[in-house]
Point group: D2
Chain length 318, copies 4
């Protein structure tokens, strides 16, 4: 299959499941601080959606003994693409198998990345139809804009921790048609972080090395807000809501994302980011590789990378 066709087999990141040992406080955080909207429950899980999501939910928040990331769902770009990707996953021995879809989606194929994170791929989806009180004034919008908390627009990306970022990034590229847009190469030659994307948006799935040597952990999930001002306002909201601000607002050198990192009450790191999409339009984009020396200069405007960025992941490990 030619590269350009492979590239668009995955349409976009659909939703992600997050585990929390503090389900009530986490729910309060996502609803009132980030501004997500509840859209049903299932057992110990609550479905939550950002206002610009055309599907059923963006986040599945699940009560659990500890924190961390559950299953991440990717939407295929067609039914054929879905079937082609299943074959590729089975060839690699990473498939788990077909399952009935979660609420809002059709049949889904569950698989694992080499590091063990669980993902799923689906094609059929239920287009969100808002109830009367959430109906937007403009028909090209999925849901009314909530005047509550930060008002994040969309789930933006997932940043996994992995024993070997490169092995996992390569898997995303070869099995799913992703591309590496940026990466970090240590002086030893080891790739310690890889940013991959599926379409024009410059990254969707990120791997960074887990200093503990554990498997399947999460660095952070990220939601996008409409403006850099929204991110600054988010910091003010976090401050007066008692939410832990880890670092920011500032601008990353890598991907030039304007960021704010918070810890939700369950302990998981959540990034708020802008722009809503930095585009990589070139179909032959060459990955940008950052050296240790370049990373030592800190973030775009000089902020040093905070120590906990290299030590905090979920679930916590001894």
């Amino acid at each position: 299959m030619p590269q350009s066709a492979l590239r668009h087999e995955i349409a976009h990141l659909g939703h992600v499941e997050l585990f929390t040992p503090a389900p009530e406080q986490s729910l309060e955080f996502f609803v009132n601080v980030l501004g997500l909207t509840e859209n049903g429950t299932d057992g110990d899980s609550v479905y939550l959606r950002t206002w610009d999501d055309y599907e059923h939910h963006s986040l599945k928040l699940t009560a659990a003994a500890t924190s961390g990331v559950g299953r991440t769902a990717l939407r295929a770009s067609s039914e054929e693409a879905l079937n082609r990707r299943v074959l590729a996953l089975e060839e690699r021995g990473l498939g788990v198998g077909w399952a009935d879809g979660d609420t809002g989606i059709g049949p889904t194929y569950v698989f694992r990345d080499p590091d063990g994170h669980e993902l799923e791929l689906y094609w059929e989806t239920e287009r969100y139809d808002p109830p009367e009180h959430l109906r937007p004034a403009l028909k090209n919008q999925a849901q009314a804009y909530p005047g509550r908390g930060v008002g994040v627009r969309r789930l933006d990306h997932v940043n996994y921790l992995a024993q070997e970022s490169e092995v996992n990034g390569q898997f995303i590229c070869e099995a799913l048609g992703g591309r590496v847009t940026e990466q970090i190469r240590l002086d030893t030659g080891v790739i310690s972080g890889q940013w991959t994307h599926f379409a024009q948006k410059s990254y969707d799935i990120v791997y960074t090395n887990d200093w503990t040597g554990s498997n399947g952990r999460l660095h952070h999930i990220a939601f996008t807000a409409d403006t850099r001002d929204d991110i600054l306002r988010a910091a003010d909201i976090a401050l007066d809501s008692g939410v832990h601000i880890e670092t920011g607002p500032h601008k990353h050198a890598i991907q030039q994302t304007f960021f704010l990192y918070l810890y939700e009450p369950g302990g998981n790191r959540v990034e708020l980011c802008n722009p809503t999409a930095r585009l990589v339009t070139a179909p032959d984009w060459e990955p940008v590789t950052w050296t240790e020396a370049e990373r030592a200069r800190g973030q775009a405007w000089g902020l040093k990378t905070i120590e906990s960025f290299h030590t905090h992941g979920t679930p916590p490990v001894a």
Copy 2:
């Protein structure tokens, strides 16, 4: 008394009373759309405060048969200044008399401007002490920033309608030590609008001519938000909250205020404005006078002044 001393007799606009025939909906608007916080009730009135107000309340919302403005409270810059202003008001025959202060303020002197709007002047005030759940993270802030609706910072100004703007503007200057910063002069020589201020902020009390020849009516009250982005976001919130947007966001030529005009459910016009303060620092500032021809060019970036701006005031008249 020298001009410079007279100038600072009034410290700032304290709060304003607004009448509404739709008290529940109006309350919902001020609390959830603008983001004010309730701070007690008194009979048919609810006290509401912006988060940056150091006093008890910024707005007194009173259920009434119709819309319009009630009493506007100004804080004197000292007890002596208060007493001096009372003498000046009595000399002009515009005093109504001393009254026990409203909740949160001490003895207050009630008076009327020549057009009949009721105002009051006070010195003693109760500094706001937030309850635990509204305590701000930073001690130089009056109240926690609410992550709700627009989150307006402060009551900014009151724009009265009057039969003769100039007579009333002159009253503000001569009796209270205000200064005219900008005004509109019609081709007939009539001053049809006057912007007056008490300190560095470029306007606090505005008069514009009432086309109906009525007395004591309101054009609008205004709240300031922190950024121009907050005003844009306010338009998004209004749109999806079903609040009537009259005009804006755009930038006024006069005072260069970035504005958005809404009608609260009781029918009163409410402006959201930025910056939080345009400074007129010059103690000898010469009023800027706009001609009809200049006004015909529209607002700063060319938006034509909306027709209802010249026909809607509260309470409505036949």
Copy 3:
């Protein structure tokens, strides 16, 4: 060929040629008001680039007897895609033929849309290598950010006028793999405007009906700025630079673009828009169709569509 593969045959809008009867003033506008950077000349043309463009130029400004749009260049997503599209164009009898590429690009295939606008398709391109004084601090950026004028990031879209929008929009979809994301349907059933896109960005090529019945004319070209604040600041810059502001800043209902429309000195309409990219991620997005009644409500926050929006196009016609 399956739909999903066809869809990504075009990678993105490359650059556009604009004709101007006032070349010096137009150049001054693009360099000092919008903040583009000169990158060479060719006869009567000057090449100009936005700072985030990875290719040689974003705009070719050509001195001419009158205003209007010259050739629009699209980059194919691969050499194979280019060849496949050439076949499709030839089948439709709309091909003009292969030409040597313009400065910065390789062999290019020239063609016309049904309305007669000239376009070209290319694959080979020269990656921009900035001279020392334009070298960016961050290596994932094409060129240093210019602290000059608006500082637009990227050429965003072209809006052509056409006798029949639908015929042309259909051509973009069938011959080039575009998709319609939004459109206007008059009460007569006529589609009077169509917004098409090639990838995740929600529109790249727009057709709106030409009220004069002419062919090959331009409604506007658009550049994206990073924030809504940049657009507001652009209005301030335009105001004090003597640039004609046609309408805005405001937010479109269609596509929800925050906009400002200017006339460059040659008479062509130029839009400044934000966000940098509104994403349409769904591979099965259903076109949003706006009725006349919905259009009559004006733009997102209620601004009425300005009359000249329906009467000004370039080149002017009698």
Copy 4:
């Protein structure tokens, strides 16, 4: 004299003189990075103005052997106020004497604060009359808005280093009618920083303790920009202009100023700040006192105060 009258003897900070050992590069910085406009020269000095300044200049940039601050000019609120303040200064033995005013101002009274910084007080001033090419579109604006660099609006404040902040802050209050709005009290009881203001704007003159025990040095001068977005954009401009970013953008806990600190090429620290004015409207505002423990928490959103903030002042000392 009653307190309230004394309070307004000083109208505002007029302008400041800065010494630079790199006059050409400093001039380039102020003109092209900050966006100031030249307004004449005098010997080794260049006069520069922000676009919202109604007077002749905001900054006098003087070539010198080393960096540091020259004379700071304050405008009195009237001729009488000027004369009263001169008496008060002479009583304290801190007067230097009357001098012919600098370009643009009338007779001026030169004096020193206890730490030895030179200041002057004046009443007469020349209102700025822009040349044709700098004439603004709106008549309530001093000068056309420059689309160049950051485009700072106004000189905001001066932050001196002093052996004893409290002695100097007290001098500003007692001799000039300033008020302390915020301060830092060390565990030893020593006041290590004091923020004083003259009118509604929450600070104009700041003193922080000089760790070297030197006299008459400068911590920074500050210019205000219109939005927090302007400050973020300023960081992007600084980054690609090779200007040293010391810290920020972030929000101070003290005064809640959104800030960015740069070093201009002559070595002086320059702050860019927003909002354009945080108001302290209360005439009986009680100073907010920060403890060491509170300061240890860092800035508003948690950024640790950068080490050089406590070690870099101008001129440098051994």
